[in-house]
């Protein structure tokens, strides 16, 4: 055996299994010219397309059909850096599909959140997050690296900005009439309003501040006077009671002090838990549930139920088993994510993709890799990672695949097709290239085990190194031998939880402004379960191929509860049953709940106007009434590899790093690994891919993986 790869002269054969963000990042790194051809990379992918949980396809009328709702946050520096390099490499050959990367990613600075009001209406809070200097993926300025003290300063500046800039609109509920100051009763009401507007909403925050600051003082080393703290506590308690009774029922102002309350709780907790100097950084509180930790540091129950906290959980799909009554989010990573999201972004808070994620991200990556000589083996479903039959179980000896399809001429499968002049992934395999034509099988379904033959790769003969970049949900199925052999892997698969998700997309013949949505196109969260998060995607429509383009498209997503008992692998109809569930739930959402968003989408009789739904299928005449929903797109992400990765309290310590060297020719990659940012997102997947590449090649240097050493 050759210890280390430095002395090997021949190219090192690397099998990358899984074409999601993590696997593609590793492939890009290992095939980079900086290695001088040291690695030969082959990507093995089930089905017909790359992308993993970020895969998208083109359906009828070239419409984009996504796994869910994807946005790239403005702190995804590693991910943006990778995409910028891809676009630059393609541009150098004149083949970049969108030109500059900034043509493919659209900056957004507005985020909306919903909360129920005391009057059972809906209150929408709109946060405007100003553009910041730089662009995601720019080199970090020396001295500007991640540090908690800097976050503290930024948190307080945000607090002030929110006080000044927050805009509140109420939908539903009861509005106060205009005040007539000659009427004593109305005068009192006016006084209440004034108090709520300027004095006691602020004073509430100040009351919270004084109590929390008192806690902070008590935790600090300096000897402060306990009597002062007692006095402060009494003042704060009395005033808080007064405010709760008299003022805070006024919905319009509650968000201000909720934010202040939460920010102060974070500040207090930061000091109280010694996070500024703890060698574990925010991992020191990773065992705490996020709400519990905030509560421990003085956050009020009102704030813990606020739309900001609800939005934090909704955006992270942080509901164990998909159960809305089981919100679970590890405090350390939640705080790390929130700090980076709000205070670490560059350019814009978040960026939407101009087209499908498959088209904007994975098609360019595929083109770059192919030009570099990376080989792709589509229709290869991994079924087993084999350990040695004898001797120490310290490496991967074999990889076994179900081959789902083969091309008719034996050449490589051509996976992309042109839509509007750009290479795109289709929503279905191109059966014309495949032997036997359309077999009717779902080649991405875990429960459809269609296979025309099996293929086993052997170490030293077919591969040297393995990048296992399937999702953690699939590990128990494809890594049975390792899980059975290695207790750490078993604990990882038991403790790193995943959740199923559901999504649907609408194409509407009227834009959202006409339908009564008063705000700019933005992402909105903390709305009614299960479709609590949605986004106006009007900017994608021009990329599609409609004979008569709709006015907009809107994507919804949320968690999907698991059944009490997970289905057997032989239950081939399970995905379709869940899909039908999603369809019915989505149609029901339109029939009733969406009226809070788009009041003009309902006729005078209060019925949803189903003819608003644009029909891409070209049926004549198009279906009418609720049947029209069948022309839209929906999906249930129930496949093990499609399930969203959670970070529940106490689970991080069970994650295994791509740097782990227990199996000396294997590394792992995915947002489920211990990658420095343990959260289900593109950035985590990319970071893990970089770590996997580092594990095999020594590059990139760990210091160049942005945020890996984040506190």
């Amino acid at each position: 055996m050759t210890q280390g790869s430095q002395s090997v002269q021949r190219p090192i054969e690397v099998a990358v299994i899984g074409g999601g963000c993590a696997g593609m990042t590793a492939a890009l790194e290992l095939s980079h010219p900086k290695h001088g051809g040291r690695f030969t990379v082959t990507v093995y992918q089930e089905g017909w397309r790359l992308g993993g949980k970020g895969a998208s396809g083109r359906g009828p009328s070239g419409r984009v059909e996504e796994h869910g709702l994807h946005v790239w946050l403005g702190f995804y520096d590693n991910a943006f850096r990778m995409m910028r390099a891809c676009y630059d490499e393609l541009a150098a050959t004149g083949s970049s599909p969108y030109g500059d990367w900034r043509e493919a990613f659209v900056p957004q600075s507005v985020m909306g959140l919903f909360a129920t009001t005391e009057q059972q209406g809906w209150q929408k809070w709109v946060g405007h997050f100003p553009p910041r200097s730089g662009l995601p993926g720019d080199p970090q300025t020396p001295g500007e690296m991640h540090s908690l003290p800097r976050y503290i300063a930024k948190a307080l500046r945000l607090l002030r900005a929110l006080l000044i800039e927050t805009d509140v609109h109420r939908h539903g509920g009861t509005h106060r009439p205009a005040d007539d100051l000659r009427d004593p009763n109305k005068l009192l009401a006016a006084a209440q309003t004034l108090l709520g507007r300027g004095v006691f909403t602020t004073a509430a925050a100040l009351a919270e501040a004084i109590g929390l600051l008192g806690t902070a003082i008590g935790m600090l080393a300096a000897p402060f006077d306990a009597a002062i703290l007692q006095l402060a506590g009494k003042v704060a308690a009395g005033l808080r009671l007064w405010l709760e009774t008299n003022v805070l029922a006024e919905d319009r102002h509650r968000h201000v002090w909720e934010i202040i309350d939460l920010v102060l709780a974070i500040l207090v907790g930061t000091v109280r838990f010694g996070l500024l100097t703890n060698p574990q950084g925010l991992d020191a509180i990773e065992e705490y549930e996020c709400r519990d930790w905030l509560r421990l540091n003085g956050a009020s129950e009102r704030s813990l139920k606020s739309p900001f906290i609800n939005g934090l959980y909704d955006l992270a799909l942080a509901y164990e088993d998909g159960d809305r009554d089981k919100p679970r989010l590890a405090a350390g990573q939640a705080l790390r994510g929130a700090l980076r999201m709000f205070f670490g972004y560059r350019g814009a808070l978040y960026w939407r993709m101009r087209s499908g994620m498959g088209d904007v991200v994975f098609a360019p990556i595929y083109e770059v890799l192919r030009r570099r000589g990376v080989r792709f083996r589509f229709f290869h479903r991994l079924t087993n990672v084999g350990l040695p039959g004898k001797g120490p179980a310290d490496h991967v000896a074999s990889l076994t695949f179900d081959v789902q399809a083969e091309t008719t001429d034996g050449r490589d499968y051509v996976p992309l097709r042109d839509v509007q002049g750009r290479p795109c992934w289709p929503s279905r395999p191109d059966w014309a290239q495949l032997t036997g034509g359309d077999t009717g099988h779902d080649l991405e379904s875990h429960w459809d085990r269609h296979c025309i033959r099996t293929e086993t790769l052997h170490v030293t003969r077919d591969f040297d190194f393995v990048v296992l970049a399937v999702s953690v949900g699939a590990i128990p199925h494809v890594g049975r031998e390792i899980v059975a052999h290695d207790p750490r892997w078993r604990r990882m698969t038991e403790n790193v939880k995943t959740v199923a998700s559901q999504a649907f997309q609408l194409w509407l013949t009227e834009d959202l402004a006409r339908l009564g949505w008063p705000s700019p196109p933005d992402i909105v969260s903390a709305f009614v379960k299960p479709f609590d998060t949605w986004c106006d995607m009007a900017h994608v429509v021009p990329e599609e191929e409609w004979a008569t383009p709709p006015a907009t498209s809107v994507y919804f997503c949320g968690v999907l509860p698991d059944p009490a008992e997970l289905p057997a692998d032989s239950d081939a109809q399970y995905p379709e049953r869940r899909r039908l569930e999603v369809r019915d739930r989505a149609a029901g959402f339109l029939a009733e709940t969406a009226r809070h968003l788009w009041p003009n989408a309902y006729d005078a009789g209060g019925k949803f106007r189903w003819d608003l739904l644009a029909d891409a299928t070209g049926q004549t005449p198009p279906p009418s009434g609720p049947e029209r929903f069948a022309t839209q797109y929906w999906r249930a992400n129930v496949n093990p590899s499609d399930r969203y990765v959670l970070n529940v309290p106490g689970s991080s310590r069970h994650r295994i790093s791509p740097l782990d060297n227990t199996y000396d020719n294997l590394t792992i990659a995915g947002d489920w690994t211990s990658c420095g940012f343990n959260e289900g997102c593109v950035e985590a997947a990319v970071m893990s891919g970089l770590l996997a590449a580092h594990a095999l090649s020594g590059l990139p240097a760990l210091k160049d993986i942005d945020g890996y050493d984040h506190p």
Partner: protein
Amino acid sequence: MTTGERMSRPAPEREAPNRGVPSDPAVHEVVAHAVRVGYEVIGDNIRQGKTAADRITAGDYAVKDLPDELTQLSLRLLQLTRDMSATTFDLIGAVLRDPNLQNAIKGLAPSLTPAVSGKPAAAPPAAAPPTAAVTLTCVVRGNPKAFGMPSMLQHPEQAAALSIAGLFSPNPALPSLKGIKFVPAPGGQGIAAIVDVPDSQPAGNYSGVICDSATHQTLGTLTVQVMP
């Protein structure tokens, strides 16, 4: 296809993030100071707000005064909330970033001792400064004929390390004043500039521009007058 000896990965330099930061015992003390100052500033205003609230609840406000008083109180407390971050808490960031300012605060050690036991905090500070500005107090040491002109300092876009090249007279023949330090104002409101003026300093007005040393953003001016 490959054949040959089995290869293994290079040994990893480490397998986990290095999340630790250098320990600085001064950090807690500095944060403690800023927190205590924040308490003093807002504490008194909380009491004022409570008094006003009780008066309103009891109905002993003159009706004709009510709207104006409430409006004024509203604006003042809202302003104070903003100042809470503008002056006090932002200093946390500034202090943690600027070693000179840290040293200056350490030099204020006596002021870090708590207030008298059993009594409320110190008297309320002066009225709050305008929005997005910080009160700049000038503390002159040395020459008894010299005094500083209070002014306003624009709130920096981010936590800033303040810098000033010196204070200069319009008459280039006169010597400039150097070595100016910035510290949080002891009353908790704004920033104090400490200027050492020698007895020999000629009479006249001396002024200079205060910048954020990182961004070179101009934040305000500082002026010292030396009487004849």
